[in-house]
């Protein structure tokens, strides 16, 4: 992305802290449902409300999902413990957060990005989420609101915080890291990874240095709610720091807030910053040390990771995919549809088409994709590849296949989608040429830009029954006849 903006001679140093909500059935320390979007304060109990006398009991499934993340990131699963992080905040029921501090469950790992670069992982630890405060009335901002409402449904939802090493060197790489991490979270079933619902939240530590120098002073950027915010905020912040340093200034270590509307980071310099969290061991919980057997069970249940699954699809394409195909492969794997592609190809579907249709049309209808029969899907792709169905027709049949299933040939017949015979097609093309003599002259003279115009006209004239590839081929043949 916009790394282009960084002045010559400067380098970004970025570390990301990613919080992800684990996809557990219940909360981290009680039996309340871990559900997004329910009526406020319905998924609460004495434990997650921090009522006097209530005590936390660790959720086994949360530990398993945390281990899955750790194993996927090649971390060491270590004997760990919980601490209390003490600070006052109304949406934190106990006024302390239970978190792992000096002994995280996952230590030291690595994440290889699609481009082959490797980012170190320092730790991935378990902690609890807070509730949600809504400021109401007045300006709606914290300082100017008339009152605040707190929803504790999210309080005690399990989180894993994944801390990268400061190995990231550009905003684009940061995005690739966050994307790959998200794919891993989804692929391992640890989290749904939805940034827009807050189930994956990213904070970025950004500093700049002149090439070869020591690390500079870093700023932590918060409120990055999308991949777009992440890249824009990093680019802005790095530029800000370079400008500051080049003007002889000094970067102050602080937490900065990303303002998406304004497109800039703002100092948060709040009282919170001066907090001394007074960490100490959580006396209400016992040490957590998953034994070798448990670790082995979790490892065995862990399927192939996204990188390996993408490599499988690249193999199906015969290696050396185009940039568009790389994106398609990523989308197929991110949607968990690589098994469908593999099965369709095994039944004779051409791999490039299988990947493309799966990445686009099937992934867009993901909730029905599980019911799609690979044999029917393969048959449809063969019909499309052979030209018996146009791309548009194939998409219509696919939509029907996804909704009701059936045999692609039959569906096409019922929908009246059989492709035109060549004589009818030739007639339609001739009519279009006759109607646009000036454009035809240009095309014959070698102006390829007009080719798309003619294809479009023919498709319209045939109500999309024509096969686009065949139209293009016929146009090219007619041109060579005219100019020859």
């Amino acid at each position: 992305m916009s790394d282009v903006g960084l002045a010559p001679g400067w380098e970004m140093v970025i570390g990301l802290e990613v919080h992800c909500e684990l996809a557990t059935r219940t909360k981290l320390f009680c039996g309340c449902p871990n559900m997004f979007g329910d009526e406020p304060n319905t998924n609460i109990c004495p434990v997650c409300l921090g009522l006097p006398g209530a005590l936390p009991v660790l959720n086994r499934q949360a530990v398993e999902l945390a281990m899955r993340i750790g194993l996927a990131l090649q971390c060491e699963i270590a004997p760990s413990s919980f601490h209390r992080k003490n600070y006052f905040y109304p949406d934190m029921p106990k006024d302390f957060q239970i978190s792992q501090y000096d002994a995280p469950i996952n230590k030291g790992g690595r994440l290889e990005l699609p481009d082959g670069s490797v980012i170190g992982i320092e730790r991935a630890h378990i902690e609890e989420d807070t509730g949600k405060t809504t400021h109401v009335g007045g300006s709606g901002r914290i300082g100017g609101a008339d009152y605040a409402l707190v929803d504790y449904n999210r309080a005690g939802v399990p989180l894993v915080e994944i801390v990268s090493a400061p190995d990231i060197r550009s905003a684009a790489q940061a995005r690739a890291y966050a994307g790959e991490l998200r794919a891993i979270l989804v692929s391992t079933g640890a989290s749904d990874g939805r940034m827009e619902e807050g189930s994956m939240r990213v904070d970025a530590n950004v500093s700049v240095r002149r090439a070869g120098e020591e690390f500079g002073t870093r700023c932590e950027i918060k409120n990055l709610n999308s991949m777009r915010s992440l890249t824009r905020a990093i680019a802005f912040e790095a530029d800000r720091q370079v400008a500051l340093l080049e003007a002889g200034g000094r970067v102050v270590q602080e937490t900065r807030h990303w303002d998406e509307g304004e497109g800039r980071t703002l100092s948060m310099r709040s009282k919170e910053e001066a907090n001394d969290y007074r960490y100490f061991p959580e006396p209400d919980l016992v040490a957590l040390a998953p034994d070798g057997r448990w670790q082995a069970e979790v490892a065995a249940s862990l399927g192939a990771l996204p990188a390996k699954r993408r490599a499988g699809l690249v193999g199906l394409l015969g290696g050396d995919p185009s940039p568009a195909q790389i994106d398609q492969i990523r989308s197929v794997v991110a949607s968990g549809l690589d098994d469908l592609v593999t099965a369709a190809c095994a039944r004779g579907a051409p791999a490039p088409l299988a990947v493309a249709r799966t990445a686009n049309e099937v992934a867009a209808n993901a909730e029905r994709a599980g019911d799609l029969d690979p044999g029917s899907f393969a048959k449809l792709l063969v019909l499309e590849a052979s030209g018996e169905l146009s791309a548009t027709q194939a998409k219509d049949v696919l939509a029907e296949l996804l909704t009701h299933g059936g045999d692609p040939t039959e569906i096409a017949k019922v929908m009246g989608l059989e492709s035109m015979d060549s004589r009818a097609l030739a007639g339609a093309i001739a009519q279009v040429i006759d109607a646009h003599p000036a454009e035809w002259e240009k095309f014959v003279a070698g102006d390829d830009k007009v080719a798309g115009f003619f294809t479009g006209q023919v498709m319209r004239a045939t109500a999309n029954k024509a096969n686009g590839k065949l139209v293009a081929a016929e146009l090219a043949r007619l041109r060579s006849e005219s100019s020859g």
Partner: protein
Amino acid sequence: MSASAIALAAEVRSKKRSARDAVEESLAKIAAGDPEIHAFVEVLADRALERADEIDRAVASGSDPGPLAGVPVALKDNICTSGIPTTCSSKILAGWRPPYDATVVERLRAAGAIIVGKTNMDEFAMGSSTENSCSGPTRNPHDHERVPGGSSGGSAAAVAAGFVPLALGSDTGGSIRQPAALCGVVGMKPTYGVVSRYGLVAFASSLDQIGPLAGTVADAAVTLQVIAGHDRRDSTSLAAPAPDVVAAVNRGVEGKRIGLVTELVDGTAPDVAARVRQAADALAAAGALVDEVAIPQFRYGLAAYYLIAPAEASSNLARFDGVRYGLRVDAPDVAAMNVATRTAGFGAEVKRRIMLGTYALSAGYYDAYYAQAQRVRTLVADGFAYAYTRFDGLLGATTPTTAFRIGDRTDDPLSMYLSDTCTVPANLAGHPSISVPFGTGDGGLPVGVQALAPALGEQMLFALAGALERAAPESGAVTA
């Protein structure tokens, strides 16, 4: 009450006496005596009578309500009772009704016990005299000008005054045993993890244990057996089954090696020390092999305790912020509301300990205070471990002095803290300990001797306690 809990339950189970009669007697004694003693902050007359009738109907229909059938019980007011105010004797929780019962409450009910009221305490269990209560002090039934000890002073006084045969307290640094000693009743702190803390409003989580206060050792044993045992809602609850301690009470101590701990005798008042030595002689006469043992690490226990307990308390009490329940004092913004609420809601001793604990955990001081105190805690446990290579049980004073006068120590927190010096080692190590009345000291005030045993050594502890009880001189009459 004149009868022991065991005798009373036997009468109720065999229809010799109704539970209603037992509860009415208890309520009548409370009505007559408690305006003076102030052991209770809440008396649950209607609920208790209703429950008594249920018990009587159960007995009439041939079912057995359990080992504590019809026994009136008092609960320290830091033990959560569903729908019944649970205030920890603090203004900040005035009127708060928990939506749930503590595990011990469920277990008492399941055993047929009848909860007649909630007892006064030092605010959030911080104190040794029950003077730090927002509703005023409890008086010692043996001498109304004196404190009952604390922080479970209301529970100890309720048993000593004969209002109830049984009560529960909580013991973080001696808060069951010390008032038991000062009031002339039995008070027992279990091994850490034997009794669930679910529903006990936390003071210092790594030290707190709920335990019984009773008129006799056997009653304490029955009660422990009812409330003990694994609870999945408390992660620190031990998986071990509840120890069978009832049978242990009469087992005797013949051939048992008992160590009289120098540090738990030296420095105590002469009248207390004399009774402890007399108790040691009595055990020897009963066939125990008694020797003196020094555990010098105990000298540092109190200092470590007064760092660890406030540190944990500073975090445990953060939730009383005016947002969700209890007192709220309005202010222009949330932070100011927090401060105003806590300023108005907490008493002086609670504020003192929150400040001490916050300081001990602060960046730059953590290693010198909290971490160092944890190392001392390990040393105390090491001292016990060494002693238990030579002894089956240990003996000492429960308190340095007998009951002191109301107001005597309120202006000098340090002298108040010293009241806990004999009891904190067991909390730091997580070991079980019991205070048994053993005659009187100067002025006819009760003296308690303390028996100690290794972790999960409850059977040894009750055998020792039973032997002490059988050998004990009278503890003096209650004036209530």
